[in-house]
Amino acid sequence: MTRVRTRAPLWLLLPAAVVLGGLFLYPMYQLGLLSVLDFTQAQVSGGQPTRFVGADNYTRLFTDPRFWDVLLATVLFAAACVLATLAVGAGLAVLLTRISRIPRLLLSLAAMAAWAVPAVSGSTTWMFLFDTDLGYVNQLLGIEGFNWMYDRYTAFALVGAVVVWASFPFVMVTLYAGIEAIPKSVLEAAALDGANAWRAFWQIMVPILRPVLAIVVIQSIIWDFKVFTQIYVMTRGGGLAGQNMTLNVYAYQQAFASSEYGRGAAIGVVMMLILLAVTLLYLRTLRRSGETL
């Protein structure tokens, strides 16, 4: 297997190309196509011919205040989740470097366990913990009868808590590995100069860890922007009157609950474009941090 010109790589890549072409590229093309069609239940059942409607789905979407409301909710929800995840993850990563062996082991095992819990199981467990009457948390707080899901903001907060609980371990583990890779002498010198933990973190660790941080931040943005399972399970498909919809759930409901497939696809395209922009940012950061392909 020397590096000569042969057809071998073609054969080796063929299976991957077939699978990804058929189940990634083609659906992406189809998504774009659907978004410019009038495609509802009538077309699916063949009762009416499929009609090209140009940018109609998009114009209707962009003139619908509901869409902007959902978009804003998605951005704010994702931003809050990302900030909380980073604060908790980074804080605990620093904490891990300053504690004894046994507590460190306990904390990392606990984080790993939370990480391993499937999204559905995590959602149901937190739902039970915060249940109106039977929830342990409500009983502890003495607020039996309080339903977290009635109010838009408490519902989002609870879902956000589950998302953060499930995703801070990734940030913690990655940043901890990064901090451990910083030469001890650098941190010791800072301590000798009288820098406290806060300053050591912002003025020494953050600059050194910038590439790792960038990756963690952008990964988190991508994940939290498209949270689906937790919202769908915990708010039963988007909350009371759809108050807890995010773009993802909104697109899904438009397509599969209202049979507005063209409209759902248009929302999907918008989501895809937003995340593509974030991804390009990610690639630029990778390149700047010296990644060679």
């Binding site: 297997m1 397509a255 395209v269």
Partner: protein
């Protein structure tokens, strides 16, 4: 300084306890007798643990079947995706060809694609394919295996590439000088050496397929027999009263395999992530 450290140790242990508390609560609620689950005065312990909820879930609601379905989907995805990714990773590291870099960037971008947005076109694709090949149409486990193989592939290729790269070229060259054919080099030399990497990749693929809720919800519409765990679990949510004991038992059953997997590969996971970050 000493007192400060002891304080931090205590804080860390406290946070660890809070972090695992929901998991503890899940397992605890699964083994609580029915009376205690309905209690308006929940206790963080139980003196009369029972396996009733598990029995109800496994026997009455045929959860064992869904467990097997989930397992089957996840294992097939692990095998096929691992195999295809291995071949692609070899092509990307052992050969120089045009568009190689373009391909690599494509695989990286593919990891970022919000697959959730593809639900709509994939639904129609699976529906149409099903009329030709019933085995991978709507309501089949095959459809889930298919899409998850595709979704796990970009990451698997990206990760395995690093492992293949780490094997020195001289090894394949020496084998070829000894008269080994391409096929032999691929399976007898490279494959065994990449095995640890494949193990790490397998875990990611397994978890991805195992945790999937969205596609199971979309594709498996009317064939109750072919449901996977996440959907089957929602059966216990009832408009009048949720069967929390059963929900927690089912959630525990769903968490168990992933937890075991995580514990086995804990070290490798951290190393793999570190590698992915530094790579």
């Amino acid at each position: 300084m000493r007192a400060g450290r002891r304080m931090l140790d205590a804080v860390a242990v406290l946070i660890a306890l809070i972090t695992v508390f929901p998991i503890y609560w899940m397992v605890l609620s699964a083994v609580k007798p029915a009376g205690e689950i309905q209690s308006l005065d929940q206790k963080p312990w139980t003196l009369a643990p029972s396996l009733d909820a598990f029995r109800r879930v496994l026997a009455v609601n045929d959860f064992g079947r869904y467990l097997l379905n989930s397992l089957l989907v996840a294992l097939v995805v692990v095998l096929i995706s691992g195999l295809i990714a291995f071949l692609a990773a070899v092509a990307l590291t052992r050969f120089k060809f045009r568009f190689r870099t373009t391909l690599l960037v494509t695989f990286l971008i593919a990891q970022m694609v919000p697959i959730e947005a593809l639900t709509i076109p994939l639904f129609f694709l699976v529906r149409d394919v099903g009329t030709v090949v019933p085995g991978i149409g709507l309501n089949t486990l095959g459809s889930l295996m298919l899409v998850h193989t595709a979704f796990t592939l970009p990451f698997a290729i990206w990760m395995l590439r690093g492992f293949v790269q780490a094997i020195p070229d001289e090894l394949d060259e020496a084998a070829q000088l000894d008269g080994a054919g391409r096929f032999t080099v691929l399976w007898r030399i490279l494959f065994p050496l990449v095995a640890p990497g494949l193990a790490a990749v397998s875990v990611f693929s397994f978890i991805h397929a195992w945790n999937d809720f969205l596609f199971a919800r979309t594709f498996i519409i009317s064939a109750a027999d072919n449901q996977t765990l996440p959907m089957a679990l929602l059966v216990f949510f009832k408009p009048d009263e949720n069967d929390w004991g059963a929900i927690m038992a089912a959630s525990t059953l769903m968490t168990l395999p992933v937890m075991i997997f995580f514990l086995i590969v804990r070290r490798r996971l951290v190393a793999g992530l570190g590698g992915a970050v530094k790579d």
